[in-house]
């Protein structure tokens, strides 16, 4: 079992088992793929201004992928035009900043000898956001609702496709709570 995060004199530390390192790496890489797949209608590189600013010159579609849709929700609750305009302006930057955060955590994992991660506070804040995104992703797939009862986890039919994601979600929730405790303690 992972020790979870703790604050030491050297900074924020955590020890992950090999399987957990692989899991985190795969979950994060999956999100990188989902965010890179969509994005601005205009391919990056064809419009120099767009490449510089991250702002699309063409309309940007709302994401079809339910995970990406949760990470990048409509910015206006009722006015689709306003929501679409916001997406055109912000979508590039929002995706890029997430992918940068994911890359940073992947690097921290790659640099961790035997799964022992040592990071500073600033890096730990990036981990917090990334773990939250992983919870959003797994929670969306597992169709988590407000009244999720964790005691039900063990009674889940193992053939239920949501079961695996709920277990992941549960673990990530614990991990995030530990990290939050360290950052706010």
């Amino acid at each position: 079992m992972a020790q979870g995060f703790s604050m030491t004199r050297k900074g924020v530390e955590a020890t992950f088992e090999r399987g957990e390192v692989v899991l985190l790496r795969e979950l994060i890489s999956d999100l990188v793929g989902r965010l890179d797949a969509g994005g601005a209608a205009t391919p990056v590189g064809t419009d120099p201004l767009e490449a510089m600013t991250g702002i699309s010159s063409a309309p940007v579609e709302a994401p079809v992928d339910p995970i990406v849709a949760r990470l990048l929700p409509d910015a206006h609750a009722t006015d689709k035009e306003v929501a679409d305009e916001f997406r055109r302006l912000a979508d590039g930057d929002l995706r890029a900043s997430r992918v940068a955060a994911y890359s940073a955590v992947l690097e921290d994992l790659a640099a961790a000898p035997d799964g022992h991660v040592k990071i500073n506070r600033e890096e730990a804040e990036v981990w917090l956001r990334v773990i939250n995104d992983l919870r959003l992703a797994t929670g969306t797939v597992a169709d988590v609702t407000e009244d999720l009862d964790y005691t039900d986890l063990d009674s889940l039919d193992p053939d239920d496709p949501r079961a695996a994601f709920l277990h992941l979600y549960d673990w990530l929730t614990w991990l995030q709570s530990r990290l939050l405790g360290v950052l706010t303690g």
Binding site: P73, A75, L94, R129, T140, L148
Partner: protein, 100 residues
């Protein structure tokens, strides 16, 4: 449920007075969702807005209990920036005119 705004009663309309739409502020709203932890939402409000833990906790509880809450107000561009920052943290944030 957004913060109620009081509109002054017009008791007399002058024909000379041009119709000026009052300068409507914009607001940023955070919506409740079943995934984000309460402690996390509180933490995000402190990080993004610099609110005290007390104020951030109150806003988080508003979101949680009422389904949504106004977390900041100001000009449109300012609200768009707030939405970007909140969405970067994975919160379900939108913006709109205050009188909607």
């Amino acid at each position: 449920m957004s913060t109620p705004t009081l509109t002054p009663e017009r008791t007399q309309k002058s024909d000379v007075e041009p119709d000026i739409e009052p300068d409507v502020p914009w607001v940023t709203i955070v919506w409740n969702d079943p995934i984000n932890l309460m402690d996390y939402v509180t933490y995000v409000f402190q990080q993004v807005f610099g609110y005290s833990k007390q104020k951030a906790t109150k806003l988080m509880l508003d979101v949680h209990r009422k389904g949504r809450a106004v977390v900041s107000s100001g000009g449109r561009e300012e609200m768009e920036r707030d939405v970007i920052r909140l969405q970067e943290y994975g919160l379900w944030a939108t913006f709109q005119k205050d009188n909607q």
